[in-house]
Amino acid sequence: MKSTKTLLALSLLLLGVAVAGPANNSLVVGTSQEPPNIYDPWQTNNLAITSEINGYMGASLVSKDNAGDLYADIATTVPTLANGGYKLTKNAAGDVTSNSVTYSIRKDAKWSDGSAITPKDFQFWLKVEQDDRVPVPSRDPWDKAKITVNDADTFTITYNPPYLFADQVSPGLAPSASMASAWNSFDSATAKLDSKTSGKAINDAWVKFISAFTTANNLPKVVAGPFRPTQWRSGNSLTMTRNPNYWRTPKGGADKYVQTVQYRFIPNTNTLKVNVLSGQIDALSAVGPTFDQGLDLQRSERGKYKTYFVPSATWEHIDINGFSNVQKVKDLDLDDKRVRQALLYSIDRAALTKALFQGKQPVSNTFVNPIAKLYKKDAKAYDFDPAKAKALFADAGWKPGADGILAKNGKKFSLNFTTTAGNATRERVQQILQAQWKAVGVDVNIQNYPSSVVFAQDFIGGGSNGKWDMLMYAWTADPSLEKGNLFSSTQIPTAANGFAGQDEPGWKNAEYDKLWTQAGTEFDLAARVKLFDRMQTIWADEVPSLPLYFRVNVYTKVPNLLNYTFSAYSLYPSWDAYEIGWSSKGAAEVNTQK
């Protein structure tokens, strides 16, 4: 009998029968990336896949839903000015000098080992986050935060100087009890080391500490979210199972919803596509196929799965080198706004997005995401107008030569156009734009490099050294935390600051800078909207970068799968992990993909 069963199991395996899906109330997700570690409370790597997977195992005081509205998770309520949870402290002149948010922890909020989540866990997290020895990429805004415990379940986090988005973000938490001993070992081992001269030795000690809790060999021992990790086969898959100690219960009971989630790591996106088509995976992660592959998948759906194109917070654009110290910039008048405007009028972005992206990636007119509250709807649009482009070029002294190419003072209007080599979508965009610019007399020479070259700080930040003339790439920013940093002159990369800073075109505008400084301390949303309105007007008039479109994220899911959704606010389908389920298993639909 046993041998018959073994034979049957063997046959089923050899025949490749897929067992994923509603049959055993599990979910199989395919992704092209594997995280280096998971549930690192201090997020010392900034990979999207890490954030997505952490979503299943993590919990937060408050979080954002698909609409960008805050909801309470560990906290009892969302602190606001109206309910007194969020407070602004002002001086006599009415300027905000500090701000604070008070959180009450739910009585039933527990770690996966059953112990209560307390203010100590937030204090421990903040202490480590602020520690000079810990390699967090950026400590903003936590470097100016302080936690005061009010009682066993309530604490206040105060920002001094004030933090503009204090009510929009909440501090992290770490299981202080289970990490205490390892942290103390790290602390004593590195206490006498100078973080400036012994950086590597300190980092090695840090790695030893954090690796004991976050890796494939040392799975997180205690987590707070709806799922806990149970198996990680490095290079292959990661399995998480439902955490019985998680406090929020989906409609009808947790047993009606997905019980295990498996991530399959498939680095080649074509192979990932084959996995979707062959029904091996139930859904794709937000970190997966390219846009073109998404279109292919959509064409082959046949009712087996559905493809979604979710507007993201990623802005595709072309920076124009505006550093006047660069001879070529001077020669081509790239530091003259008329020339930049003419370059924008010369290209038909609406036709481009329609042809390449079926209109799914809408044209952008400013650097602010259209879903953000700060977005200026009526910003100057620069609709395709070659006649206007030619007039602006002529205004700046550029006249067509015998070969049709614009010329001035014996110099031809010929510039290099760079992007990440091998990115098929960008390379196609380049070719279309090159042809459109040629039609108005602009000679564009495509000069691409691998992304490792383009995104090396000394290249992307090397505008002042004339490393590039026009550079096409993308930025991602949370639309609810928009600060306008990308174009503040304080962010211009130069040799003096080690080419750090994100104002890659080197654009400097005194009025924009003034408004940006004001907006950085303007706590009234309506007033900030006004400031950003003017900032976008200036920016759209000056066009330091040519805005192209906001990208979409592609993913698929089988029709029966519910509440596997996300937006540019919630970012990953794991944001609502506790409610992901199969309709055939009795799960109720609470979120639909928009």
Binding site: V28, G199, S211, A477
Partner: protein, 333 residues
């Protein structure tokens, strides 16, 4: 022979040092570093943050100093930390990835030999016959078929088209190392082996495909050369049966150059498996090099490439020694 072997082993030490320096320089001098990845898209990051992170990762030191520290550590068996995989680079490459590559490459090589050697002999013995033309055509086809194309085509065929036609009877998994549903702690050994075989079949065949063509062409050429030699003609003239002439007299000499080919094929397979492993999501050494380069995880790349360099030196020595063992005309003393 012993003196020769010892001399070759001693020569390997400076050679390996030079190779490691070149590998280190090539990886360290490429544009970008791990800090660039952390800073990209993070508009909050400040120049002070960047300087702090570079110091923490030891990237603020001059390249020769970094190489020196790395070399000293490597000589103690410590190849540094892998940032992408959050474990020691040596441990990750050799414990996690090397067994997978061996599982893929060794059977691929054995399969290639089992198929290519008899076909090469057959092709040579029946030179200019129809089967010879067919095998020549197929081997050139295999030569010119890039793995990055063949891999996805095989995936599509076995994962999508065939199951569609056969109602799922013939289907093989589209990539991966094994069924994530299979719990190795509870599943039977047979179930684990069967599962592994299921995932191994497609990448193994794709990897062996080109090797078959290489060995087949090599075997055919060697065999033709040997068959035209005087001693073979003499053997035939003496009236020995064709099979004895070919398999007893000619084959022994024709197969000697294959030893050199194999000596270099084994380390070559480790590097050559990059695309196969990537297409089939097979977590092996080839993929680790690619992922390491993409993620700027240089410690992993250095550990893997140094190992391949060492393997190349060792197998080229073994090939030379094997040459002497099988060919009485070669003496190293």
């Amino acid at each position: 022979m012993a003196t020769y072997t010892l001399r070759r082993i001693l020569q390997m030490i400076p050679l390996l040092l030079v190779i490691s320096l070149i590998i280190y320089a090539l990886t360290a001098l490429q544009p970008g570093d791990p800090v660039d990845q952390l800073t990209l898209g993070n508009s909050q990051i400040t120049p002070a943050d960047i300087a702090r992170l570079r110091a923490a990762y030891g990237l603020d030191q001059p390249i020769f100093l970094r190489y020196f520290y790395w070399l000293v550590q490597a000589l103690h068996g410590d190849f540094g930390w892998s940032r992408s995989f959050s474990q020691p680079a040596f441990q990750y490459v050799f414990q996690n990835r090397l067994p997978n590559t061996l599982l893929l490459t060794v059977p691929a090589l054995i399969l290639a030999l089992l198929v290519a050697v008899p076909l090469g002999i057959y092709s040579a013995v029946r030179q200019y016959s129809l089967p010879d033309y067919v095998l020549t055509f197929l081997s050139f086809l295999a030569f010119s078929t890039p793995v990055f194309w063949l891999g996805p085509m095989v995936l599509w065929l076995f994962a999508i088209y065939l199951p569609g036609i056969t109602n799922g009877v013939i289907s093989l998994p589209p990539g991966g190392l094994g069924s994530p549903d299979l719990d190795p702690t509870t599943a039977s050994t047979w179930a684990i082996i069967a599962d592994k075989i299921k995932y191994l079949i497609l990448p193994l065949c794709v990897l062996a495909f080109r090797e078959i063509a290489v060995i087949l062409r090599f075997m055919r050429a060697n065999m033709l050369e040997v068959l035209s030699q005087d001693y073979v003609r003499t053997a035939r003239a003496k009236g020995l049966p064709g099979g004895v002439v070919v398999y007893k007299h000619a084959l022994r000499n024709a197969i000697i150059p294959i030893i050199t080919l194999l000596g270099l094929a084994i380390p070559g397979l480790f590097g050559g498996a990059v695309i196969t492993e990537t297409v089939f999501s097979w977590p092996g050494m080839g993929r680790v090099i690619l992922e390491g380069l993409v993620n700027k995880d240089f410690n992993v790349v250095l550990a893997a490439l140094t190992f391949i360099a060492l393997l190349t030196l060792i197998f080229s020595l073994l090939a030379d020694l094997a040459y002497a063992a099988v060919d009485p005309r070669i003496r190293y003393d």
